[in-house]
Each structure stands twice: as C-alpha cells, then as structure tokens.
C-alpha cells in the first residue's frame, strides 16, 4: 500500500493557476488550480466533456488558455509553443509516424534536439528494451499490433525524458485483457524512469489502481483530489461519490445528531458538527461496507426487504428496501463457507448494518 504523498517539498512538475478555457461562450475548464509533484503518477478522472483532455492539451501547448498560467518545473510556459515545452504526450490515437520504422519513431524527438547519431541509436535501443520491442525495431507501425503501437507511442515520448509526460486515455483503444496488462506495465515503467505522469482517463478502475493521486473532474472544475483510497473511501461531493464505484446516496434532514431520512428512519452520524438543525444533508455508504449477516453491536442496524439479487461470480449484489422510496445496494463476497442456498431471495426480510465510520457525509 502506497502512502499518499505529502505536499510537494520541491518545485512541482506542473502547476496550474486559475487555468480557464472558454469555447464559444461555454467554460470548459474553470479556474483550475493544481500542483503535481515531481515523480508523481497523477490522474485526471472524469466523464467525457468534463474538461480533462482540454486541460491536458493546454499543458502540452496545443490549446491556448483563455486565462490563467501554466508552470512546468516552476517556469511559466503559458505562451510557449509546444515544441519548446519540456513536456511530451502519448496520444489516444498513438499518432505514430507511418513513414518511419519503430526506431525512427522513437528517435524522432532526439533527432530534433540535434543529438549525435550514436547516442540516439544507443538510447533508442535501451528504450525499446524497456518497452520490450527490441526485436521490432525495423518494423513499420502498420505491421504492429495495438498493444505494440501503444508501446511505441510511449517510448517515443519517454525517450525525451520530459519534465512531465501527458497521457491522453492511452489505453482506451485496447481490449480489456491487454488494457489490464498495460496498466501494470505502465505503472512499472513509471516507477523505473521516475518521470511525472499526468494521466487522463474516464476509467475509474484505471485511475484508482495506477495513481498516486486522483483528481475527479466535472464541468471544468476539480470535485475532489486525493489518494485513491481517500477519493473512494471519503468522497466529499455527491458527484465524486456517484462517479467512482457504486454508491448509496441517502438524503435527509439534520436533527439532533442524526439524518432523518423517513419518519421511521434516522441515521446517526457521530462526530459530524458542520450542519445545523433542519439542514438538508446527503450521506453515502459503499455497498461492500454494508453487512447482511454477522452484525456487531457497534453497527448501525436497520431492517429491510430484499428487492432484487444478482449473482456476479465473486460477489452477489442485493437491492434492499429500508424505507419508502429508499433502497440500498449491498455487495456481499461469495465466501467459501457460503452455500448457494445461503443467498437471500427477493421478498426475504433481512437486517442490515454498517459501522458508523462508513457513513460519509457529502457536501
């Protein structure tokens, strides 16, 4: 388990200050402030149209911000053209140069810098070893598979040892199995080279499993930013809770230390002091935190009726009605000790419960 990095001690690799982009009157990126530490694997996660790719393109220099500044390694590059920025991009389409072979593609950036031929050959060779393409050096991109093309794109950007590497949904075009393999590989390569990665994705699983920190973006603003465990376990907004994982959203009114959801249902939230009597409050509880058996005295308990069950192999998902108009999704592991006929059926009366610390108050 990686510990969430503390605030950057040195100059951040990338700093965004009030970064804003308007397109035809619509604000796509809205006063973004962000610091990405050197060597960090940082993900911008959000639905399509949330402004994450626009943010990436502004950092790369392909798109001019309407206002705000971009600093790369402490240097203001807001007005610098792309070819003079110490930043490289892995494009979603890979954008390989079809007329050059794999070596030509990977060595392209070094040749632009005027580095001598022998050094280039040397570094290209080592980079191709790193991405396990040593034996394909003389192939044209058209003859490579999707995963190999993806690795050429990565090698072509990495070889320049940029201050920060921008990755625009680089795994989106791969099939599921290859994508999982590349996630692990990408993370391993990032650890090895130690370059800052800014990774844009709409895939929450990808963001959670690879990143040191994740920023959840919506409508051009960052909803929440933190370590994967933080954004998953302690979502701060309704959007963040809903976008990552499945979540149970519970709304009610604050009254004497409890959220009153229905006449008969008040959920206590110990330690919460930010709401006044009568305030509308939203809560969330993750489905896997709710128990249907082995309840303990510390848990908040409530009776309910199974509405639906669905079997997912490793887990079974239940929808349980606990009040008028309020159903909770519960995810239960199919542990070895459980037999098939142990599972609940629709209509069964159950008692469910969860520990108070798993009740998360949203803003």
């Amino acid at each position: 388990m990686s510990t969430p990095p503390s605030p950057p001690p040195s100059t951040p690799s990338v700093s965004l200050r009030g970064l804003t982009k308007d397109f035809a009157g619509a604000t796509v990126v809205d006063h973004l402030d962000l610091d990405i530490a050197s060597g960090e694997f940082f993900s911008l996660l959000g639905p399509s149209g949330c402004g994450k790719t626009t943010t990436l393109r502004m950092i790369a220099g392909f798109s001019d911000p309407t206002s705000g500044t971009i600093l790369v390694d402490g240097e203001d590059v807001t007005g610098t053209p792309p070819h003079q920025r110490d930043v490289n991009t892995v494009f979603q389409s890979y954008a390989l140069f079809e007329h050059l072979d794999v070596r030509g593609n990977v060595g392209f950036g070094l040749r632009r810098k005027g580095i001598d031929r022998r050094t280039i050959d040397d570094r290209v060779g080592r980079m191709l070893e790193l991405v396990e393409l040593g034996d394909r050096a003389r192939e044209k991109p058209a003859r490579l598979s999707g995963g190999q093309r993806q690795r050429v794109a990565l090698a072509r950007a990495l070889i320049n040892e940029p201050q920060v590497l921008l990755l625009d949904e680089p795994l989106a075009a791969l099939d599921l199995k290859l994508r999982h393999a590349m996630q692990a590989e990408l993370k391993a390569i990032q650890r090895e080279v130690g370059i800052t990665f800014l990774f844009v994705t709409h895939d929450q699983d990808e963001a959670l499993s690879m990143s040191d920190r994740v920023a959840i973006m919506n409508n051009g603003v960052i909803e929440q930013c933190g370590a994967p465990e933080d954004v998953y376990e302690r979502p701060t907004s309704v959007f963040a809770a809903g976008f990552i994982g499945t979540s149970n959203l519970i709304s009610g009114t604050w009254s004497r230390g409890c959220v009153c959801v229905a006449e008969s249902l008040a959920i206590p939230v110990p330690g919460h002091q930010d709401s006044a009597e009568g305030d509308a409050v939203s809560l969330t509880v993750r489905p896997e935190k709710i128990w249907l058996s082995d309840l303990t005295p510390q848990m908040f308990r409530v009776p309910g009726t199974i509405v639906a069950t669905s079997y997912h192999g490793a887990t079974t998902q239940y929808v349980v009605a606990i009040a008028d108009g309020l159903s909770l999704t519960v995810l239960e592991q199919n542990l070895p000790r459980m037999r098939a006929d142990d599972r609940w059926q629709a209509g069964d009366r159950v008692e469910l419960g969860w520990l108070p610390e798993h009740t998360v108050v949203l803003r």
């Binding site: 792309p82 070819h83 490289n88 890979y94 007329h99 392209f108 632009r112 044209k140 058209a142 072509r156």
Partner: protein, 277 residues
Amino acid sequence: MATRRLERKPALAVAMTAVFFAWLYLPILAVALFSFNDKKSLSAFSGFSLRWYDDLVHNSALLDSLIASLKIATVSTVGSLVFGTMLALGLERVTSRRGRVIGAVTLLPLVTPEIVTGVAALLLFTGIGLKLSMTTVILAEITFSIAYVTVIVRGRLAGIAGEVEEAARDLGCTPFQAVRLVTLPTLLPALIGAGLLVFALVFDDFVLAFFTTGVDPQPLPVRVYSSIRFGVSPAINAIGTLMLLASALLIVAALWVPRLFHRGTSSLDLITGGDPR
C-alpha cells in the same frame, strides 16, 4: 456436394467477362496491330513492318508535338501538385462553415464539362491579352488538375489521425517542420498517385489544349486531330501504340510505387475506391 457445385465455373459469367474485355480492348488491339501493317490500309493487314514507326521518327512536326505534350504534362503535374497539396493542407485546417463551402467549390472543375472550362480559359486569356502559347495551355491544365490533386490528397489526409502533426510538434518540430518532416512524407504515396494521374490526364487532354494552344508546337492530341482531317496516316497508329504502352507503364507504376513504401493502401485505391488486400 454443395461445395462441388460452387467450384464449377459459372459459364455465363465467364462468357460475359470475355465479351466485356473484347469490347473494351479489341479496338485498341486493332490500333496496335495496324501500326505494324506494311501497307497504308486500315482494314486489311498485309504484312509486318516497322515503316510507320520509321515515318514517325522522321516526322519532325509530330515529334515536336510529342515533346511539347511531355513538357506540358510535366510542368502541369508539378504545378498542380504544389498548389493542390497546399490547398488540401489549408482546407484541412479550416473548420468554419465558409471553409467547407470553399472546399466544395474546389471540386467544381471535376464536374464542369471540360468544353466549358476550355472556352472560359480561352475567353480569359484573350480578354487579358495573353498570347496563346504553351504557357497558356499549362496555365489551363494546372487550373483543371488542381481539383484532382486536392481530392486525392485530402482523401489521404483524412486517413491520417489529426494528432500526427501535433505529435511532431510535441516532439520538437516547428509547425513548418511538422509539415515537412511528417505530413508530407506520410502523404508521399498519395502525391505520387496524384502526380501520375494528372500526368496521364494532361498528356492526352484534347479539349483544353485545343482551346488554349498557340500555333506551334501544337500539343500531340491537337496535332493528331488536325492531321486526321488531311487523311489518316498509319503513323497515328504507331503513336497511339507508343502512348498506350507509356500509359500502361504509368498505371503499373501508380499501382506499385506506393507498395514500395510498405503502405497499406496504394494511392490508386483512393481514386478507384477499392482496396486490393
């Protein structure tokens, strides 16, 4: 049983194909055959000879026309490649509505009857007082060919991810270097294909050349046409056969040159819309 029935050759289809090819190529074969006739007759083949080829080599007017047509075709090809590619690159960067209208307008020469283009060019050149000459033919042919180049190059550009030029800039290219080092090399098969097509079109183009040419030297198609009016010489057959041979070589080149670059589709596919793979 079912597979065996499928393996039997469909006789009707084979016959239709044979008739089609005969219809298409017999007249051309006749031209080639009679270019080797030893008599002046165009109906009876009496014996093999190379006298009409000999005639041709000693007909300086005809040779001058051949050279003139080669010059016209070469200069027009280069000119239309330069302007057509620039136009295609420019149109690719235009996203506004007005830009799309301009893009559509560039295709008009493809559907305009050539005789209209010819008359229009003639009126323009005489109107501005330009003396009709080889230069006016070239100007007219370039105007006419740009559309072909633009269509072919844009077809290839559409197949390139828009991110390729950005990738070049990301890796240290100025916008100009990105076009020179990445976009143009990627377009090379399309450029070769377009060039070969334009060369073939312009070389034997009669209508535009007829309206815009000066007196001497006349382009080859115009010369052939005017000599027919004074009685057909089998030397025309000889020239026809040579031109046929040259065209066939050009087509083979257009098909095969792009494959030398290990590219998936040849530029001819862009014209014919087919993919031989």
